[in-house]
């Protein structure tokens, strides 16, 4: 039972960690991260994916929107390594081109959701009372808002303004990231808050408090690292959700123009042809899966690296 917990957090580990802190906390974290082999492999794979979508189009110079009806719905070949879609457009070129947007949107929206969620959850979790009630009201409000009308409203109010300020592509990107992130932070906030409720009563926090640690220090150094578990899971789920959400947004006229082949979009376009052109759905499906997988392992590795309790 939690109430019967007797010992304070592994004193020895803390002492060891404290001892190394004088050497270099970052090197220590890096050492811990390296120990997580899958995390290291994932960094390499994700890095490769990023490089591919950044520089791939410079090497694979087939235009993304070259229509060739004579080559439609072809399976993989030397000419089209990933095959073609129903307009005979080269899928590899499209995947590479769209990957920039999908990866950027996925990562950025995830970051927004996690950051907002962690900040709101942490503040609510540590401060209780009125602040907690107000922040949870905000969370409940966002949870109950129907997304579609709100999205249409956002498009209508801000699309053209943002286009004027930030240019059509970047303005759209910012808007998408804010919209997707803005609709996904609530579970994170509630998870973090719940973790805080439990953690702030734990002995090691009491101990740190007794030693005179300030509240911000308590939160950042002691409570937050222990609350990160669910946050990392939420992060990986959010990446996948954001990549898919981007494609649904373009149906509302909020996403990038529909002729820009993002991964979610390719997957959606391909779905009705799945029975006779399976190659078409395979490419975006695997790409999204890989992105999710690697980000998750990196998250795991990061937690291990930052978790003061974990002994390695």
């Amino acid at each position: 039972m939690a109430g019967s917990t007797l010992v304070s957090p592994t004193a020895s580990a803390q002492a060891r960690a404290a001892g190394r802190k004088h050497v270099s906390p970052w090197r220590e974290a890096w050492r811990r991260f390296r120990r997580h082999r899958l995390a290291v492999v994932s960094v390499v794979v994700l890095g490769l994916m990023v490089l591919l979508v950044l520089f791939g189009p410079l090497i694979w110079r087939v235009p993304v929107n070259e229509i060739d009806f004579s080559a439609k719905l072809q399976g993989p070949s030397w000419q089209h390594p990933l095959g073609t879609d129903d307009l005979g457009q080269d899928l590899l070129a499209r995947m590479l081109y769209g990957g920039r947007i999908s990866l950027a949107v996925g990562l950025a929206a995830m970051t927004v959701a996690i950051l907002v969620g962690v900040v709101i959850g942490a503040i609510a979790g540590i401060s209780r009372g009125g602040v907690d009630a107000a922040l949870m009201w905000l969370t409940d409000l966002f949870l109950s808002l129907p997304q579609l009308p709100l999205l249409l409203l956002v498009i209508y109010l801000f699309r053209d303004k943002l286009k004027d300020i930030a240019g059509p592509e970047f303005g759209m990107f910012v808007l998408i990231v804010i919209v997707i992130g803005g609709f996904r932070w609530m579970p994170v906030a509630r998870l973090v808050r719940a973790q805080f409720f439990s953690l702030r009563e734990k002995e090691f926090v009491e101990a740190a408090r007794a030693l005179g640690a300030s509240t911000p220090r308590l939160v950042v150094r002691h409570i937050l690292p222990n609350a990160l578990g669910p946050v990392i899971v939420a992060g990986t789920i959010d990446v996948a959700a954001a990549i898919i959400a981007e494609s649904t947004l373009s149906f509302l006229g909020l996403g990038f123009p529909p002729d820009i082949p993002t991964w979610g979009r390719i997957l959606f376009d391909a779905k009705d042809n799945i029975d006779f052109a399976p190659h078409w759905v395979l490419a975006p499906g695997i790409a999204i899966f890989l992105a999710v997988l690697t980000i998750n392992f990196i998250g795991d590795g990061l937690r291990d690296a930052l978790d003061p309790r974990k002994v390695m």
Partner: protein, 596 residues
């Protein structure tokens, strides 16, 4: 095609040189409607074809359940509130009009004993009235007899602005009087060439007086019969869940012998078109599915299973690109695309011609729409010998380049043509819908090769087709250079359809963009022709006028037609159903049956 040629054709039909059917299809190709074509023949004294019923079952019932899929479910079952086709179809299971339109544009009596005609004078020679004889011994589902009073009441109900029916325009201008218990006369205020509107087809379903009487006018929204219809149709109401399910059962007192065949009917709503096609064509779970907006390739692959097929019915829908004649990028008196401006480049006929040359309709048909969209260069796209040389379409990038070059639009360093500092850069908008985005891509590619830069924009359909005054992205505002959508000719008569090029109909801020003229194309002669068409009693002369109007719009490239879009339904191989492009899909539900 002028009046004389039309008359020649009609004579051909009279002496049997030309079949009635091919006459009608030629008229449809000329941009007219089948009902109008059929009306011309009637007027010229060619007897209305007797549509032979192919109904085989010899007893009522015994057919089991008929299951139909409507991927947009009916939301209410009052035919006079039924704005969307989904609601009209749901109502049509239970209600009937006096007559319906068959696929060839012939009137088929439903609750009428016969179709009014000139010979026996039921159709007035001066075009001022029409007399309908009603079928006797028809009873409502609750057992009350159907009489002339119900027709008169339907008229009173629909014409009352407080009731707020969508059929009001059909009934407002006419007066209906009861001659005897089974005869009514519809009187017009002025000679009316198109008389078969009130009590006919989609807008003509008749409602029972005894149940709606208390709910006329402002109380109309509270009528329980809005959701629990009591009609005269082949099936009786059982259950209705808005947006999801309409269920009916065999009407044992139906007024046609041996009908209906099915014991129950179930109209399921929701989902998407592709999976509806799968449920009919691939698995056979359902017998019929409406409005298959599915790529033909997918339909063709599904059909290989042999359980069902796509049924394609000619109608009057055209997918076209509208060209903006005003400048959408300049504000005049706080209004974009104001009628006081002129589009900087699209007002040049050469640019419009080049655009028309750059639409690769053949590829659009072959690779996107297939059987569900037939390439057309014009509203007027008849067989070879009627096609005027000025209105034929072609796809020719070189010629487009040449036309632009000659008109002084020279390529700049970026490859985009310009003249006097005005670049050929256009925003091309449409609603979000897979085939439309593909068409956009095809047009964009061709334009690139001719030095025209297109920015593609797509707007979610619920915004694009809305009338929201505050939203800049609606199709009636047309705040961009070119836009593409399907214009539907749901009315069996082209008069209303052709309103969309009248000067008085221009969509402006003043009329809250409610005007029908979206392109803001203006032409005095056209306006004059349309006025003439409204009062012209001789259907042949009238048809010639409409053809001429069509030519004017098309030759000036005010619109660039892309494909004809026939109605497509999915139908199980065994189901026998006649679908008409000029009426509801369920217009002849009474004759539906399943082959053993």
């Amino acid at each position: 095609m002028n009046e004389k040629e039309l008359r020649g054709l009609i004579d051909d039909v009279k002496i049997g040189k030309l079949s009635r059917r091919s006459f009608v299809s030629r008229m449809v190709a000329l941009g007219l409607t089948a009902p109008l074509a059929s009306q011309m023949l009637t007027y010229a004294g060619v007897a209305q074809a007797q549509t032979k019923s192919t109904y085989k079952p010899t007893k009522r019932g015994g057919g089991g359940a008929l299951k139909v899929l409507w991927w947009q479910g009916a939301t209410l079952l009052n035919p006079h509130f039924a704005v969307g086709t989904k609601d009209q179809e749901g109502s049509r299971i239970f209600y009937e009009p006096l007559a319906g339109w068959d696929p060839n544009g012939n009137l088929v009596p439903m609750l009428a004993a016969e179709i009014p005609n000139l010979e026996d004078g039921t159709l007035a020679k001066d075009g001022m009235s029409v007399t309908w004889k009603l079928k006797k011994n028809v009873v409502w589902h609750d057992g009350k007899p159907f009489t002339a009073d119900d027709c008169v009441f339907t008229w009173e109900y629909a014409r009352d602005p407080a009731t707020a029916t969508y059929t009001i325009s059909t009934y407002q201008e006419v007066t209906v009087e009861k001659i005897d218990s089974h005869t009514i006369r519809v009187k017009f205020q002025k000679p009316t060439p198109f008389w078969a509107d009130a009590f006919v087809g989609t807008r003509g379903m008749i409602i029972p007086k005894h149940l709606f009487e208390a709910y006329k006018g402002a109380a109309s929204r509270d009528a329980p019969t809005n959701l629990k219809p009591v009609g005269t149709g082949p099936y009786k109401f059982v259950d209705f869940k808005p947006g999801d399910m309409v269920r009916g059962e065999l009407n044992p007192n139906y007024h046609e012998p041996n009908r209906p065949y099915f014991d129950t009917i179930e109209m399921k709503g929701g989902g998407d078109a592709v999976s509806a096609a799968r449920a009919v064509i691939q698995t056979g779970e359902y017998d019929y599915a409406w409005n298959m907006q599915v790529e033909d390739e997918i339909l063709l692959r599904m059909e290989k299973g042999g359980k069902g097929r796509a049924e394609i019915t000619q109608g009057g829908n055209i997918e076209y690109i509208a060209v903006n004649f005003t400048d959408p990028w300049t504000e005049v008196d706080g209004e974009r695309a104001s009628i006081k401006t002129k589009h900087p480049s699209l007002s040049d006929p050469a640019v419009r011609q080049a655009l028309a040359l750059l639409v690769d309709r053949k590829s659009v048909q072959e690779h996107i729409y297939g059987r569900t969209g037939v390439a057309t260069g014009n509203f007027v796209n008849g067989p070879e010998r009627f096609r005027s040389p000025n209105t034929k379409w072609e796809f020719n990038i070189e010629k487009a380049n040449q036309v632009l070059e000659e008109a002084g639009w020279k390529r700049g360093t970026d490859g985009i043509r310009a003249k006097d500092g005005k670049k050929l850069k256009f925003v091309y908008q449409t609603s979000i819908n897979a085939p439309r985005q593909k068409t956009q891509a095809i047009v964009k590619q061709a334009c690139q090769k001719a030095g025209i830069d297109l920015e593609l924009k797509s707007v979610t359909a619920s915004v694009f087709f809305s009338s929201d005054v505050a939203n800049p992205d609606t199709y009636t505002k047309f705040f961009c250079d070119i836009e593409m959508y399907t214009t539907t000719m749901v009315q069996p008569d082209p008069e209303q359809f052709m309103l969309q090029f009248l000067t008085v109909e221009v969509a402006t801020k003043e009329n809250k963009w409610q005007g029908r003229n979206i392109t803001r194309w203006r032409n005095e002669e056209y306006d004059k022709l349309h006025r003439a068409g409204q009062g012209e009693l001789d259907p042949v002369k009238r048809a010639a006028l409409f053809i001429k109007m069509n030519d004017m719009v098309c030759n000036d490239n005010a619109v660039i037609p892309v494909v004809y879009r026939p109605r497509v339904a999915a139908i199980s191989t065994k189901l026998q159903a006649s679908i008409s492009g000029w009426d509801n899909d369920l217009w002849n539900l009474r004759d539906w049956y399943r082959d053993a």
